[in-house]
Amino acid sequence: MAEKLEPAKVLYCGVCSLPAEYCEFGPDFGRCKPWLIDNAPDLYPDLLKEANEKATDNVSDKLQSVGISSGGADAATSSSQTGTSKKEEVKRLPGGKLKKKERQEVIIEKVVRNKRKCITIVKGLEQFGIKLSDASKKLGKKFATGASVVKGPTEKEQIDVQGDIIYDIVEFITDTWPDVPERSIFFIEDGKKVQAG
């Protein structure tokens, strides 16, 4: 017990950050494989065999194609090259993280505040790289009403503009920020009736 414990050195996979032997359970074993072949060949001896087999297959294919048509040799070699480069298929494993698709859309909603007063809520402008504080100032100035940036129930922020301006606002958004296409603006009418712009 008087001896000092030395920390053990663990080889962590460069791709998935797990100890190398657990790569097969990691998010993407396919990407780990080339790293493993270089750095930890003894852990997965089958991988080395696989890689060797594939290499010999490709070489034999190339030789064959070159032999068959010596005239079209260039074409043959180029086609075999594209065959060898495996397309990286993004596999979504059930254990791994699924990327939620964040569709870029601007949602415009009208909420009644008093009996005759309402506010228009604009959500999703920040997805187009628009600074919400600038946007709210411009909106307020244009429509001569109050506009403010409000934090919604989720982390997302939205712009509240006083008054009912949903019809004018579409034109204003597409004029001021040409990045925003008209088809990505949606109104909400009793549940997301996807009424494009």
């Binding site: 414990l5 920390p7 053990a8 663990v10 950050s17 100890p19 032997e21 657990y22």
Partner: protein, 181 residues
């Protein structure tokens, strides 16, 4: 437990005063006598020890921006997996069979059959409510850190239900956070 863990989940972080630091060192020393010799290096007296509080009564002990231990409520301090990989012999070991590996990887608790099946190994001395390291059949490194719900003897005899709670596993939120900055 740490399925979802990121910098946003931290509710507060404070540097603790020397008395609290001493108390933490003492409880870690009692819990893991194997770490005694290296404790000076891991938790130096002079270095600021930061305690990070997170929702669900979770406390992290952080030194030099690296989380080293965590605990739930006032439970025992448990090392992070990165630390355990460096000093594998400080905790008792349980081993699960191969089939259970992928479930543990998604945060599932460890059921008794996984430990009593041919691929599993149980350390008879382990009592209930104790931290254990979970290893996998055929693997050299720890897979997860768990908190026993039943003693090893009960797990063997009853062989039903949750044996060990999965507190921290490979590639979870805490594993991904090697440094906090």
């Amino acid at each position: 437990m740490f399925k979802k863990f990121s910098l946003e989940e931290i509710s507060s972080q404070n540097q603790v005063k020397a008395s609290v630091q001493r108390r933490i060192r003492q409880s870690i020393q009692e819990e893991y006598p194997g770490l005694e010799t290296v404790l000076e290096d891991l938790l130096p007296k002079k270095s600021p020890l930061i305690v990070v509080k997170c929702p669900n009564h979770l406390t992290l002990v952080v030194v030099n921006n690296v989380p080293l231990f965590f605990c739930i409520r006032d439970g025992p301090y448990m090392p992070t997996l990165r630390l355990l990989h460096q000093y594998p012999n400080i905790m008792k070991r349980f081993q699960v069979d191969r089939g259970a590996i992928k479930f543990v990887f998604s945060g599932a608790n460890i059921m008794c059959p996984g430990l009593t099946s041919p691929g599993g190994v149980l350390d008879e001395e382990v009592e209930a409510e104790r931290p254990v390291a979970i290893y996998a059949e055929g693997k050299q490194h720890a897979l997860a850190i768990g908190f026993t719900k039943m003693s090893a003897k009960d797990i063997k005899s009853i062989n039903k239900g949750i044996g060990v709670d999965n507190m921290h596993y490979l590639n979870d939120g805490l594993w991904k956070m090697e440094r906090l900055d």
